[in-house]
């Protein structure tokens, strides 16, 4: 499934970029994140406690950054395996652009949920990404809004925006990173 969307973050581009590469910021913003550690310049491991629908569990995931263009964007890939429940993996391109009031974050994610989850869990998967991404961008916005040097007086709430989707119509708007984490969480948390 291809997910696309964008959001306005009330902070300047460099601040957003720094945040997106700061394990501590990410850990604070990812709902339920218990640890997020940088293994190398481009590799992270993460442990997240997530409640997705009726499912709640702690899961581990591997996240890799590539095609890095400082202050402009990167490609983030994640993979989580849930044994008998299936798997989730995905890849998202995140791009940053200046805009009055802050920085526009655009993402295109290709998320692949497989195995039992895809076969019997379609109802459960729906909406999860949106919920978690709202939380993620809400927190990111709050945090950056409070950071010195960030664009002042912009609303801290996440900004809905996405227009394109599978059907070409407001399918989902969600943050690529969190979508990846959400589906990975889903795969593990049974």
């Amino acid at each position: 499934m291809i997910l696309e969307g964008d959001t306005l973050i009330p902070a300047d581009r460099h601040a957003v970029w720094t945040a997106l590469n700061d394990p501590e910021v990410l850990r604070d913003c990812i709902p339920g994140c218990q640890s997020l550690e940088r293994q190398s310049d481009t590799d992270f491991t993460s442990s997240v406690r997530a409640a997705i629908g009726p499912v709640s569990a702690t899961f581990g995931a591997r996240i890799t950054l590539s095609e890095i263009e400082p202050d402009r964007g990167y490609t983030i890939s994640g993979e989580g395996k849930g044994g008998a429940a299936g798997f989730a993996r995905g890849k998202a391109r995140v791009d940053l652009a200046d805009e009055p009031g802050g920085t526009r974050l655009r993402y295109t994610a290709d998320v692949n949920v497989g195995g039992k989850l895809a076969q019997v869990g379609s109802r459960l998967i729906q909406g999860t990404a949106k919920k978690l991404s709202e939380e993620f961008f809400g927190r990111l916005g709050e945090r950056l809004g409070a950071t010195p040097g960030a664009a002042p007086s912009a609303p801290a709430a996440p900004v809905a925006a996405g227009t394109a989707g599978l059907s070409g119509r407001r399918l989902l708007w969600a943050g690529a990173i969190v979508i990846l984490l959400a589906v990975i969480a889903w795969a593990i948390g049974r």
Binding site: M1, G83, G114, K116, A118, Q119, V120, S122
Partner: protein, 795 residues
């Protein structure tokens, strides 16, 4: 074939003897069988990936679980199960063989990756969660177009691409004949992927049996003899040492007419471990791994004269094989059925077809009720409407113009199939009359909008292939498909009758209808005839129950065999009565000369003589016993026919299709038991309604199966079914024994095109072109919206 004129019980509704034990809960389906001591329960680890390399399998934790006996992987079966493949000998087919449990590589979601052996089903499921398989996912391909595209991931390296089957046919001078058309109409049709969804999923149980045979396999299959041969071939077991038994079978629909890897696995394990081994499929596995069907793309070009005459047809059929060829049919089954059936009831003399099948990272496809025929008729019946619309002719008239008339029978069609008899035109006319076609058309406004809904009528005039004999299978390359079926009819010492048939009932009522046939021929009470089938150790060899062959071939052999025994009965009775055997008749359990009906014998008295239970002795040269065996190889095929005419209303506000009237005219030749035929028509038609309106297995582009459950794969409920207006025409075959034609699939074959055409007719005023099934509201609505937008754009 000499027609039988003196049927007495044939044609009468006899209520089924099976019902009592089924309704009391006494029937034994696979999972109802008493469990042998030491039974091992299996569960399969299924691949979550459409295509991946298996890097490692760690079963340590699973094996440590109390109650787990072992965990085996593909490599553990390499030595005792040969690579699994059907035997197909037809030009253009390229063989692919597969391990029964994946070795190193998986090719579809649901493929078996490891096998859990446990003391209970619950523990087996617990162990599934503990097996850690490490995969390296590979690029995959799910759709026909994608698999055929250059650069697509190739499933089977030795093929070089994904094309597993391709063949073509063309009549002489086709291009010239095609050019004679005044108009050329083209269309591309698509059918969604569906499957049988028997309410009883599959399963199997192998029991080592050192005394009788070496091994008994209980499996709810439609083809016990073919299963036995396949297992013997792949496991190096003597066929004499393997007994395949079908317990009560909870629906088959063709889905259970395959040989599946698990059937080989349970036998191999039971042999290796010396313990009984059982596996019961759950609904998710049923939807993931049983043979799927359809997912066809049909491109059709028709050249027609201005008066509606179809001058020539070019049909290109592409099908999705799935990851591996199914056993025993391979992907050629639906593909060749579609192209061979397309001419249907029509006088099509100039024909060209191309047919192909590609491998994809999806479950193997195979047989399902209607096999190829709903596709063929969706195409040709869809073209009848389109030719009509193009030429300004009534679609019914286009059909009339091209339908084979009663005086043209017997008729050999363009691909060499003989239509011995049929009611193609009368059936069409009756269907149209029953629904009030002319009045409907006269009242139908040009925009077809009545009371806020678009209303239309759809027609499908179809032929139904049935009772395929050995030549019919051979011509399509099925080298190991016997084609014949067989029976043994025994008059027991007490004069009661046992009939052993090579078939396997899955709810069709054989225990009643075959008794009815034997009783009819032997002149006994049908209740005195017992029927035994679905057991390779009890019945002679045969093909099984699928492709509308039960009544034609099974029924035919029971008639023939009963008559053979009857000859011996009369011979012995003639000797006992000192009468000419030729003059004797068998009636009401007695054998007598009609000239002196009082002077006769009971069948029991004759049987006692045959079994040496009196002092009368036998005539010179006569053997003891009173039985016969018969192997009946029917004609290449026998064509039944029928017509569905459906009136629908389409709501433009929500895209829902409502069936307002549903007329079925059905001709399956000689009817054995009308109520049972009616049941077949109902059941098949409703499966057709499902296929046309709601059922579809959905894979995403990566080959993930998105609806392996019954909330997301929708079956019709009682509320989706209109009352059918059903009429029978009885045009007996002159080629088959008893004049019987098959009855099981026409309902489905008729329903899918009729419904698509009805929706197409209803929306024709809008310019909507309906070219695919299923017609879910979401899809129909979208077509209406686009057409309305286009109309507004024009005005």
């Amino acid at each position: 074939m000499k027609a039988i004129e003196d049927f007495t019980l044939v044609g009468k509704t006899i209520l089924r003897r099976e019902d009592g034990y089924l309704m009391r809960g006494k029937a034994q389906f696979l999972d109802d069988l008493p469990e042998p001591k030491g039974l091992i329960h299996l569960a399969f680890v299924l691949s979550p990936y459409a295509r991946a390399d298996i890097l490692s399998i760690d079963a340590g934790a699973a094996k440590a679980l109390p109650g787990v006996i072992d965990v085996l992987t593909g490599k553990d079966f390499v030595d005792d199960i040969k690579l699994f493949a059907p035997v197909i000998e037809i030009g253009g087919y390229r063989p692919v063989r597969r391990p029964v449990v994946a070795v190193d590589r998986v090719n579809f979601v649901g493929e078996y990756v490891a096998v859990i052996l446990a003391e209970s089903p619950y523990v087996a499921q617990d162990a599934l969660d503990l097996v850690e398989v490490s995969y390296d996912p590979l690029p995959s391909v799910a759709g026909i177009d994608e698999a055929a595209a250059p650069g697509a991931p190739v499933l089977h390296d030795h093929l070089g691409d994904n094309l597993i089957f391709k063949t073509a046919f063309e009549t002489e001078g086709f291009a010239d004949r095609f050019a004679e058309g005044d108009v050329v109409v083209e269309e591309e049709f698509r059918l969604g992927r569906v499957t049988g969804v028997m309410i009883e999923p599959r399963g199997c149980m192998a029991c080592p049996d050192p005394i009788a045979t070496n091994m008994t396999l209980w499996t709810p299959t439609q083809i016990p003899h073919i299963v036995r041969t396949a297992i013997a071939d792949h496991l190096d077991i003597a066929e004499s040492a393997l007994r395949v038994v079908t317990p009560a079978v909870g629906g088959g629909f063709g889905t259970k007419a395959h040989v599946y890897p698990d059937e080989l696995i349970v036998v191999a394990l039971a042999r290796r471990l010396g313990r009984a081994v059982k596996w019961v499929q759950d609904r998710r596995e049923e939807l993931l791994t049983n043979a799927h069907a359809r997912e066809h793309v049909l491109k059709i070009r028709v050249a027609a004269k201005n008066d509606g005459e179809i001058r020539a047809v070019h049909l290109d059929v592409r099908t999705n094989c799935g990851a591996y060829p199914n056993h025993p049919y391979s992907p050629t089954l639906e593909a060749t059925a579609a192209v061979r059936m397309m001419p249907g009831p029509y006088r099509i003399r100039n024909y060209k077809y191309d047919v192909s099948s590609v491998t994809t990272n999806t479950a193997p496809t195979g047989a399902y009720r209607g096999t190829g025929q709903p596709s063929a008729f969706l195409a040709i019946e869809g073209m009848m409407d389109r030719v009509g619309r193009r030429l300004g002719l009534d679609p019914a008239d286009v059909r009339r113009r091209n339908t084979i008339r009663p005086e043209e029978f017997p008729y050999v069609n363009v691909v060499g199939v003989r239509y011995d008899t049929g009611s193609y035109l009368p059936s069409l006319e009756r269907g149209l009359e029953m629904i009030g076609y002319d009045a409907f058309r006269a009242a139908q406004p040009e925009d077809r909008l009545v009371g806020g809904k678009y209303r239309g009528i759809g027609i499908c005039n179809y032929t139904e292939v049935s009772g395929t004999g050995a030549p019919g299978w051979r011509v399509r390359g099925f080298a190991k498909m016997p084609g014949f079926d067989s029976s043994r009819v025994v008059v027991e010492p007490d004069g009661k009758v046992t009939v052993y048939v090579s078939q396997a009932d899955a709810g069709q009522g054989h225990y009643t209808t075959f008794a009815q046939l034997a009783a009819d021929r032997l002149g006994v009470d049908w209740a005195d005839v017992m029927v035994v089938e679905g057991d390779t150790s009890k019945t002679p060899y045969g093909t099984g129950t699928f492709a509308s062959r039960g009544s034609v071939v099974g029924g035919g052999t029971v008639i023939r065999c009963s008559e053979k025994v009857g000859v011996k009965v009369r011979r012995i009775a003639g000797y006992m009565l000192n009468a000419d055997p030729e003059r004797l008749v068998m009636k009401e359990g007695r054998v007598f000369d009609p000239a002196s009906p009082d002077r006769g014998l009971t069948l029991r008295e004759v049987a006692e003589t045959a079994y040496s239970m009196n002092n009368l002795g036998l005539p010179q040269g006569e053997e003891h016993g009173l039985e016969a065996t018969d192997y009946y190889d029917p004609p290449m095929v026998t064509m039944a026919n029928g017509t569905h005419v459906v009136q629908v209303a389409v709501d433009p506000e929500d895209g829902k299709v409502e069936i307002e009237r549903y007329v079925v005219v059905h001709d399956c030749g000689r009817v054995i038991n009308p109520k049972i035929v009616e049941g077949q028509v109902h059941g098949a038609t409703v499966q057709g309604i499902g296929e046309a309106l709601m059922e579809e297995i959905v894979y995403d582009a990566e080959g993930q199966h998105l609806n392996a459950n019954l909330l997301d794969y929708l079956l019709p409920t009682a509320m989706d079914v209109p009352d059918l207006e059903l009429s029978h025409i009885e045009t007996p075959s002159i080629d088959t024994v008893g004049g019987i034609k098959g009855a099981a699939e026409g309902g489905l074959t008729g329903a899918v095109p009729a419904l698509a055409n009805a929706v197409g007719d209803a929306l024709a005023g809008l310019g909507v072109n309906i070219t695919r099934v299923p017609l879910r509201p979401s899809y129909v609505f979208e077509q209406i919206r686009r057409a309305r937008a286009a109309q507004e754009g024009r005005t």
